[in-house]
Symmetry: C2
Subunit: 345 residues, 2 copies
DNA sequence: TTGTACGCGTTATCAG
DNA sequence: CTGATAACGCGTACAA
């Protein structure tokens, strides 16, 4: 019989067919140079013919590790993964596959059920490291992902205070620069549309805006703050709040692209013109923004690049066993100009 | 010692601590009712205290399967995962996690390197089933994912001719309906912006448009066809071709949202008004389209829903061991009206 | 250079 | 109801 028996052929099968021992086959595959050319070629040929593939579970069990990294992605309100999450996944995968690592993905809304799933994987020693794309490590029923003692790096969120190395985009610096750009155009009155109060990024970006204001004007007292959320819908309500203002700021900075989307759409429906009546800068680098009319200027944090970088850090830690010296790595976001910028009227 | 020794506690550790045998512990965990209440409670308590978690690799090895499903996602030109892929992943994950399955994700550009990665996973018996989000199963070096003999279902692409069950959106039916809507408004001259010639979806959607035309007008001869691609950029060039037409069709149907994005942006820049000068319908359900001005009418194929459905099919096949009776399952896409529709001038 | 033997942590079979 | 034991497939120390 030359055809693989039911698709399950083990080292032993190859050994039998080649008339050698299991360990010889194992070595022929793992250390080709520690074996005589003749038997090596024979073994390799037969393995090929029989369609041998190592059983990864057995290998993992023996080796005690899996060379698999787990990406924990958020799944707010049971709905969609954002496009930035998708890009981050692609960036992670791209890097780790060059290092012989595999990727598992779990989405969680941080309820007990979905958290447990992630925790099972981690405590089941099924993963070698974790990339956390979330505001905190999943925990439930008294177990916490932190306790698994696994290499872990946080992506886009600063979790350094938990001892987790974090790769984030340079929120503050970008916003300082954004204020500078608008000020250069002549703007003096600013509004900032924030996210929810507990959002790390929103906080950082607001701080950046205020820093920029201070640097430029010596005070941030004039800043109008409007609170929104993640969603496009809150961008709409932010627009209504903006429209209700008696003295509308000519420069608007939105903390996130989705929000800017709803904001722009709404103020334009109300009859305002961008950038004639107001200038708008946002943050995220959402692809679609480029094709709005007018297109919105944004800071592109290239999630794929961030993800790849985080993956690199993680793999290094796994391979070298370096202790997790927590620190924060800031990757600059790239300004992507749009048509939403002009001097004030 | 009450604290877990280095985070690696096995059945044996629990057994020793509880003064029972390994098999008793195993049963206490797997079949709580086949064991005396007293020892059960004791074992469970100690397992909890010690922080025991089953080693999944060992279990998989013993059981011969992994309850892990692999999602193969495309990664064209080394760039981003599309937003529809991200939503599909979320939909898959959401369903399978309720069934006790885990998700692995691999992105591939169908080069040898990345294909091999996917193939290793599959032939390494590390996965119980595959969801294919691609135009064909990965193959390289003479091995083909099909030969792994694994349950497999195709998502968004019709691979029934390869014996793979396929879950797709109802391209044809939606496009027939789209033509009907436009015709109801009074439109008589139509343009279709297609994707690349080898795209299954583009072909299907064009066929749908032609069917609709035939049903309504008895002929599809008047259809203007403009060839584009996946990208927004080709939507821009499609617009230029459209603008160059001497007698521009008043109804434009785009095969994909990204393309429609570029198209709309460009024709409006050229001074045309939508929907006054032309009506536009597209396909995909891209979230951002809702917030364009005007918003573009589109057919939403809800990738999350599709993904969940595909996952359900796959899990059923895995559990029941049903032979893969190949067939095509069409899920209707939902029409999402926008401001891009009006009677012709 | 090659073969033998053991153990990784589980689950399942079979006695008791 | 419980315990001893085998087996899943692999990698490796040790012996030949």
């Amino acid at each position: 019989m030359t055809s693989p028996p039911k698709g399950k052929v083990s080292l032993q099968d190859v050994a039998k067919e080649a008339g050698v021992s299991v360990s010889t086959v194992s070595r022929a595959l793992s250390f080709p140079d520690r074996i005589s050319k003749k038997t090596r070629e024979k073994v390799l040929r037969i393995a090929q013919e029989l369609g041998y593939h190592p059983n990864i579970a057995a290998r993992n069990l023996r080796l005690g590790h899996s060379r698999t990294i787990l990406a924990v992605m958020p799944n707010h309100k049971g709905s969609i993964i954002s496009t930035v999450a998708g890009e981050a996944i692609a960036g992670i995968q791209k890097y780790i596959s060059t290092q012989g690592y595999a990727l598992s993905v779990v989405t969680t809304d941080f309820t007990t059920a979905t958290s447990n799933h992630a925790l099972d994987l981690v405590f089941g020693r099924q993963v070698s490291g974790v990339i956390l794309f979330a505001a905190q490590p999943p925990a439930s029923d008294g177990r916490d992902m932190l306790d698994a003692g696994l290499p872990m790096v946080s992506l886009t969120e600063d979790l350094a205070h938990l001892g987790i190395r974090s790769v984030v985009s340079s929120d503050r610096q970008s916003m300082i620069e954004a204020v500078g750009r608008l000020a250069d155009l002549g703007h003096e009155r600013f509004a900032f549309i924030s996210g929810p109060p507990n959002s790390y990024h929103s906080t950082q970006r607001e701080a950046g805006v205020r820093s920029g204001l201070l640097q430029r004007f010596g005070t941030d007292a004039g800043l109008t703050k409007i609170v929104a959320d993640f969603s496009v819908d809150t961008g709409v309500s932010a627009a209504h709040q903006y429209l209700a203002l008696t003295d509308r700021p000519s420069a608007v900075i939105s903390w996130a692209d989705e929000v800017a989307l709803g904001f722009q759409s709404t103020v334009m429906t109300a009859g305002l013109s961008i950038p004639r009546d107001l200038s708008l800068i946002s943050f995220d680098g959402l692809h679609a923004l480029r094709f709005l009319r007018p297109s919105i200027s944004t800071y592109d944090q290239s999630p794929g690049r961030l993800g790849g970088f985080a993956a690199q850090l993680l793999v290094e830690e796994i391979e070298t066993g370096t202790p997790p010296e927590a620190r924060l790595i800031e990757i600059p976001a790239a300004f992507r100009p749009g048509d939403s910028l002009a001097p004030p009227r």
